[in-house]
């Protein structure tokens, strides 16, 4: 708001009070943002130039951590590849599947309430519990899925124990929890004006024509929103991949114990897992911080690009 050019002292005091009041309302976040975000971000930058094992004093090593992370660390390539693979495949399939289930739910006439709840329920399962359940369901030895496939005469894959099936298994797990997208798409589909469908039908449009020319244009903002939030979430993908890898490896381990991350064969290793592994298992704080900043840069770039596309996240009047 433009300040008045020559405010009277009383008016200026009022202005100041107004300012302070706004600051007061914002203060929890201002403190939280500086302490739990601003400070650690700067400190991460500082540590990325240090050799620090959390016992001795940090020692300046210039760009050595950065060089190590970007050019020498053998796991950086696989982790980046896996994260990008998941961002592309998981997000695309989730959006398509979520739209399909959303459409289905709006078409169901009998038992609509039952189906809606049934489709939504898995989304509520805590990620760790859902992952444990899927590692059990898909375990190659005695898992129900392979038992059933076997009974049908289909040899089941090794799922979480096969490097080429581990990521698709994670995708399957993510499709099981499609409830959030289903609700968003359902709401968007119910918002499409009925008259437009009738008009399209009069013009002789078939099912595909109606979807293409009536449904699709009015739900594109929501599709875009689903893609943006999906990309953001998948870049943080951590818990399911870690738990699935740990449990499927079958090694008797408690949380916190050191194992090679990303079982089998680093196929489920994501960038966030690699940060954890570097910082909290290898105590290579410097390299972990450098890698954190690489992830930060990727996330910021993607976010900025997506936000510029008017993804509907920032309301128009801002």
């Amino acid at each position: 708001m433009a300040a008045p050019s020559s405010p009277a002292p009383a008016l200026r005091r009022k202005h100041l009070r107004e300012r302070l009041r706004i600051l007061g309302f914002l203060s929890p976040w201002l403190v939280g943002f500086s302490v739990f975000f601003g400070y650690p971000l700067i400190a991460t930058g500082y540590f990325s130039f240090m050799h620090y094992n959390q016992i001795e004093q940090p020692a300046f090593v210039g760009l050595r951590n950065w060089k190590y992370v970007l050019t020498q660390m053998p796991l950086f390539g696989p982790a980046l590849w896996n994260t990008l693979w998941l961002v592309v495949v998981m997000v695309a399939l989730r959006v398509v599947f979520g739209l399909g289930i959303g459409l289905l739910v709006t078409k169901v006439k009998s038992g609509a309430g039952f189906f809606r709840t049934a489709f939504y329920l898995p989304y509520l399962a805590p990620p760790v519990a859902a992952t444990v359940a899927f590692v059990f369901l898909l375990n190659p030895a005695t898992g129900p899925v392979n038992e059933i496939l076997g009974a049908l005469g289909i040899p089941g894959p090794e799922w979480f124990n096969d490097p080429s099936w581990a990521k698709p298994s994670l995708v399957l797990l993510s499709l099981w929890g499609i409830g959030d997208l289903m609700v968003i798409f359902m709401a968007a589909l119910l918002d499409v004006p009925k008259e437009q469908y009738e008009a399209a039908e009069l013009d002789g449009a078939g099912a595909w024509g109606r979807f293409r020319y009536v449904t699709w244009p009015s739900i594109t903002p929501i599709v875009l929103f689903a893609v943006v939030t999906g990309v953001v979430q998948t870049m943080q993908y951590y818990t399911q991949a870690l738990v699935a890898g740990k449990l499927a490896s079958g090694v008797s381990i408690g949380p916190g114990s050191v194992i090679q991350p990303g079982y089998p064969d680093h196929s489920t290793l994501t960038v966030p897992q690699l940060i954890y592994s570097l910082g909290f298992q290898n105590f290579n704080t410097g390299a972990a911080c450098a890698l954190s900043l690489v992830l930060f840069a990727i996330a910021m770039t993607v976010t900025t690009l997506l936000m510029r596309k008017r993804a509907g996240l920032l309301p128009a009047e801002d």
Partner: protein
């Protein structure tokens, strides 16, 4: 693609009978097709729960066999899970983390969301951008220095405090969501309150909070679920002290401790899933509202 070309115009023209009968038949076929797909989808979504449950009541021997239906219903598995050392601690910690975390988040998010929705001031756009950016950042990016502070300066690792305390300082996602909701409250209500001599704080507490109850319920639920489900936080801050673990974190060690006993692991899995599902059924409306709210453009 193939189905769409099939269901286009020509198919309709060739169907025999009066137009009314044809329409009825098409509608019936459509009904059958839709409901067949819906039943198949329901099986995909529900069968995992069924198998997890069935395995959770099997005997140790049968759980290793790959059979799907329990010979005898061994309910004592659930008792065995509850008497596992630490399990009740994890329950208590999960409830504490989720309860306090939700309370703190709601109390701190309300004034911030209100300020961002109501006042026009220089830097508001920047503030919104920063809120959205923090919302989008992977938590791993800033965790290492935070861990060092909690571990080396405050000596509070091994407890749930490093998880709970930050929530008293505004969670970006909750602020964003609640602000979107507050924008839908007509300004006239607030103006009239001001005319009646209400200060901003009184307006917030007396008028805005009651009107925003659905939005507040939504962020409370989301935060409760977030805390209950959180794995990364407990892994970073409580790993060294099993008495401070939460259910989500402890569950994983369950499988390791009972490496062959899928039945006990599945019973524990059921026990971790149940509370969230119960909460959901009690608060379904607020929840669905919250999910759709994320997609609403102000």
């Amino acid at each position: 693609m193939t189905t769409t070309t099939l269901t286009r115009r020509p198919a309709r023209a060739r169907t025999p009978g009066t137009p009314a009968a044809r329409a009825r038949r098409t509608r019936l076929l459509h009904w059958i097709a839709v409901h067949t797909v819906a039943v198949a989808a329901a099986l995909f979504f529900l069968l995992p729960f069924v198998f997890v449950f069935l395995t959770s009541v099997m005997t140790d021997d049968q759980a290793m066999s790959g059979e799907l239906w329990p010979h005898e219903w061994n309910w004592s598995n659930y008792a065995a899970v509850f008497t596992t050392p630490g399990f009740l601690d994890w329950w208590r910690n999960s409830l504490l983390y989720a309860g306090l975390g939700t309370l703190f988040t709601v109390c701190s998010a309300i004034p911030v969301a209100y300020a961002l929705a109501r006042f026009r001031f220089r830097g508001r756009r920047t503030a919104m951008l920063l809120v959205i950016s923090t919302m989008m950042l992977p938590p791993q990016v800033v965790v290492i220095p935070m861990y060092l502070v909690w571990a080396q300066q405050l000596h509070l690792t091994g407890s749930i405090w490093p998880l709970v305390v930050p929530m008293a300082f505004g969670d970006a996602y909750s602020i964003f969501l609640l602000r979107q909701f507050l924008l839908t409250i007509p300004q006239e209500y607030l103006e009239s309150a001001k005319v009646d001599g209400c200060g901003e704080l009184r307006t917030l507490l007396r008028i805005v909070v009651p009107m925003a109850r659905p939005g507040i319920a939504a962020i409370a639920l989301f935060q409760f679920f977030f805390c209950w489900n959180d794995y990364f936080g407990p892994q970073i801050y409580t790993a060294q002290n099993p008495a401070a673990w939460t259910l989500s974190y402890g569950l994983e060690s369950f499988k390791s401790a009972h490496s062959v006993n899928w039945n006990l692991t599945m019973a524990a899995t059921m026990l971790v899933m149940t509370p969230v599902i119960v909460v959901f059924f009690f608060a379904q409306k607020a929840f669905v509202e919250g999910v759709t709210l994320t997609g609403v453009k102000g």
